[in-house]
């Protein structure tokens, strides 16, 4: 293991050193002219420039976009319409009934995303929690099994989507299993209910390994002597779980919950490759709505997409602030 680490470290460092060596004479001159302060600025410049141009400027421009109308993509060609796009998104007779809204697609996406997040996050937290608890036991081959659950995390969303599309197709593996047990084959992804369930299940399959790792790290940080004391008192396992494990894991569990929420709200890639949002709009989620209204559809309306993304961003900011607060608390709990 150490061999690979050293080798890899050397392999990635040497091209960097090579580039740096080439730049050396120029930067020596730069330091002579601007001093250490100039060098600090130079060290920070590339990163800050990228953040500035590709994150901060777009963030500001997003508000400008949301106040303009028309199908033109470049901001300069667009006309100012004020808060019209927000009005259009929020124009609704009954918020629970997407078809009664002016932007029924938006509200369908909102509804789908809400249902998706509810089920996916509950499933994700439950499954990762069980897996983490099991991996925390004194079992043979623990390192191997920890790796097993992590495998899908590395796969690209396109690969994940295609693998499952292939399993769920009419002549696929799932139908082989279903017919072996005497059932009738189903075209899973053509059915609104099954397609939605597939999106929930596949995204859980793809990401649960990540959350399992965080929970496992939390479990391993719980002092062992607590368990030893419980064992000496012959405390029943269920009680150990409710009285020791859960309270001490609480902060980690909360972080995982909110992190899963943040990721769940943004669901796009694997669901898009798996179902394409269909059948109909049964699995169209927020990010897909933004993508299609902003770029893909014939009736594209970047202003509307920007307004929708700002509304989604507001939800995410709230969730992120909650998460930051919880992580701080988790860290403090660990220090104690």
């Amino acid at each position: 293991m150490a061999g690979i680490a050293t080798l890899l470290g050397r392999a990635v460092t040497s091209p960097l050193v090579l580039i740096a060596r080439v730049l050396d004479p120029v930067l020596r001159l730069w330091q002579r002219r601007t001093g250490t302060g100039g060098m600090i600025a130079l060290f920070l410049l590339p990163n800050m420039a990228v953040f500035g141009v590709f994150v901060i400027i777009p963030l500001i421009l997003n508000f400008a976009y949301s106040l303009t109308g028309g199908a033109e993509i470049l901001l300069g060609d667009r006309r100012y319409v004020g808060p019209e796009q927000y009005g259009r998104l929020l124009d609704c007779r009954n918020y629970l009934e997407p078809l009664s809204c002016r932007e029924d697609q938006f509200w369908t996406a909102v509804r789908n995303t809400t249902i998706f997040v509810t089920f996916q996050v509950s499933l994700m937290v439950t499954v990762s929690m069980i897996t983490a608890l099991i991996l925390n036991r004194n079992i043979a081959g623990r390192g191997f099994f920890r790796a097993v659950f992590f495998f899908p995390v590395l796969l690209s969303p396109v690969v994940v989507g295609l693998i499952w599309r292939w399993i769920l197709q009419r002549d696929g593996l799932l139908n082989l299993i279903v017919t072996t047990f005497g059932g009738n084959p189903v075209v899973w992804l053509n059915d609104r209910f099954y397609a939605f369930a597939a999106a929930v299940g596949v995204s859980t399959w793809a990401h649960m390994g990540f959350f399992t790792l965080i929970l496992l790290a939390g479990l391993q940080a719980i002092p062992k002597d607590l368990y030893e004391a419980a064992e000496m008192d012959a405390t029943p396992p269920a009680r150990v779980f409710w009285r020791i494990t859960l309270p001490l894991l609480g902060p980690n569990l909360a972080v995982v919950l909110v992190l899963a929420l943040i990721k769940g709200v943004q669901i796009f890639d694997e669901a898009y490759v798996l179902t394409g949002g269909g059948p109909g709009t049964a699995t169209m989620f927020m990010t897909q709505y933004i993508y299609e209204v902003g770029f893909a559809s014939i009736l594209r309306n970047p202003g509307l997409a920007a307004a929708a993304s700002i509304l989604m961003g507001a939800v995410l900011v709230v969730l992120t602030l909650v998460q930051l607060g919880l992580s701080k608390r988790a860290e403090r709990a660990r220090e104690r």
């Binding site: 690979i4 990635v12 740096a20 050396d24 396109v158 693998i163 002549d171 993508y291």
Partner: protein
């Protein structure tokens, strides 16, 4: 053997007896292993089947190839079938052609005699084997090689630039005290909170304004400044003693030399971890390249695959094999370097 069994069934604190939780544990672990690896193995097995076999139901677990035979008087090799005759006996025969629900069969040993057999009475003679053309065809006929190259280019260049810019920023933020340092750190934390889907529309506009639309650089540049990377490297650099830097300054080393002669080599382990992360991220990127690249010859593997899979007439036998090829680098990372990533995530909670 028995020692292995004892090791595998070793229990803690129950006096060697199996507790119900042990049963649950192993059912969960074995079931999980099947569920996590099974789909990928199914993909690999399917990718080795020919188009005719892929259209079959029920599908077989292993790929098979039809046996063929060369018969005098026929230019093409003929497929072999086991034919059940009217009297109930079975013979292995070669199929000349199929007409409706009947097939014309000949005995390879006696090519003159032709037999008309209903297709329901014949089953193909097959053996386990692979359809390698699924893998060779895309390399020759499609833009697949082009996509592969684009993906390799984007991944390599983006990773190199990520390491360079992030290590520079991390160096400045860990080894210098200057006014506004906390503000810079705050900006970096802030960017962590801005997901791509929220700034999709204006980011497109910025990329077009900078002339990076439909260029691989438009895919690379927005990704190279990763907050995660800066934090990971900074955390590591904070552990490097400042005495080393002071000593180098005594020897009249420039700040840039301190960065690349001292800091970079010492940060190698953290750089390696970030490199693995970056390779996986960039190789797997989907939404952003989907927006930036609209010319086919610039597609990365992920975009190319999605386009093929979205066509009206999906050629699954090629898509499956290309999916396997797309999976290879990530599987290599998993097999050899998984430990670095998992410890990285467990330590920092980053993804």
């Amino acid at each position: 053997m028995s020692r292995i069994l004892t090791f595998l069934t070793r229990r803690r604190g129950h006096g060697g007896r199996w507790h119900w939780t042990d049963v649950v544990t192993w059912v969960w672990l074995v079931g999980g292993t099947v569920l996590m690896f099974g789909p990928a193995l199914w993909l690999i097995s399917s990718s080795l089947k020919g188009p005719a076999q892929l259209a079959e139901f029920p599908p077989t677990l292993l790929p098979y190839v039809q046996e063929v035979v060369t018969v005098e008087g026929h230019a093409q090799p003929l497929p072999l079938f086991a034919v059940t005759l009217d009297d109930g006996s079975t013979r292995v025969m070669a199929q000349v052609r199929r007409v409706g629900a009947n097939a014309q069969m000949i005995d390879p040993a006696n090519p003159a005699e032709r037999l008309n057999v209903p297709i329901a009475n014949r089953t193909p003679v097959r053996h386990v084997g692979v359809a390698t053309s699924n893998y060779t065809d895309p390399f020759l006929a499609f833009d697949f090689l082009r996509y592969l190259w684009n993906s390799v280019f984007v991944t390599t260049v983006a990773t190199l630039l990520t390491l360079l810019t992030n290590s520079m920023a991390a160096f400045a933020l860990s080894k210098y005290r200057f006014r506004g340092r906390d503000a810079v750190l705050l900006v970096i934390v802030g960017t962590l909170m801005v997901p791509l889907s929220v700034i999709l529309v204006p980011l497109y506009s910025v990329v077009s304004a900078t002339g990076l639309m439909n260029s691989l650089w438009g895919v690379i540049l927005p990704t190279i400044a990763t907050p995660t990377g800066v934090f990971l490297l900074r955390q590591y650099m904070l552990t490097i003693p400042d005495d080393l830097i002071e000593a180098a300054r005594m020897d009249h080393a420039s700040e840039w030399q301190i960065y690349w002669r001292i800091i970079l080599p010492l940060t190698a382990p953290a750089l390696a971890v970030l490199a693995i992360f970056s390779v996986v991220w960039r190789w797997n990127d989907f939404l952003w390249p989907l927006i930036v690249l609209s010319r086919r010859e610039l597609y990365t593997l992920q975009i190319g695959l999605n386009t093929y899979a979205g066509e009206l007439n999906v050629q699954w036998h090629y898509i499956l094999s290309m999916t396997v090829v797309t999976m290879i680098p990530v599987v290599l990372v998993f097999v050899f370097l998984q430990r670095f990533i998992t410890t990285g995530i467990a330590g920092a909670g980053v993804k």
